[in-house]
Symmetry: C2
Subunit: 100 residues, 2 copies
Amino acid sequence: MTYANVGWLGAAPGRRDDLVAFLTRPSDELVGAGCLLYEVGTSDEHPDRVFVVELWTSAEAHRASLELPSVQASISDARPLLSGEFGGDRFTVVGSPLRA
Amino acid sequence: MTYANVGWLGAAPGRRDDLVAFLTRPSDELVGAGCLLYEVGTSDEHPDRVFVVELWTSAEAHRASLELPSVQASISDARPLLSGEFGGDRFTVVGSPLRA
């Protein structure tokens, strides 16, 4: 079942745009790991946050992706860009009005 | 610029699955209004919420969709299914690691 991970990451002071650049670096590996959609965004309402919407083929695919060596390295590399605050939700997709 | 509206709606007691059914009724009109993606989901962690991820061609398209007579009627029809609680974020998409 398609799995969604949506939320935001707090950026360290002055590092929001660096965090955006980091999160949007092209990755061939994500699709192979089961990532269907990964959109990164910003909002004037919360200028110190970077927003992310991810869709995965399954909760298991998402969980497994976090164990990939390249993803582990990324998480470590991202640390100086993060404030440590974050929020969001994870849920199972059950339908769409765009599909019959 | 692609615009994202992500969040959750609280369901009235016992009405979560009715709210899911309501939000996933097929709609031809959404695509015409600029809706690129509309995924509806649930989570055992928050059994009284229905989660939604929407992507739109622009913030203006999303705003204009809320004025469509059919959408206005839907909002009114949905009222008995809602607890009145809701949460979420709106943001502008600035990139994706899945696109070069």
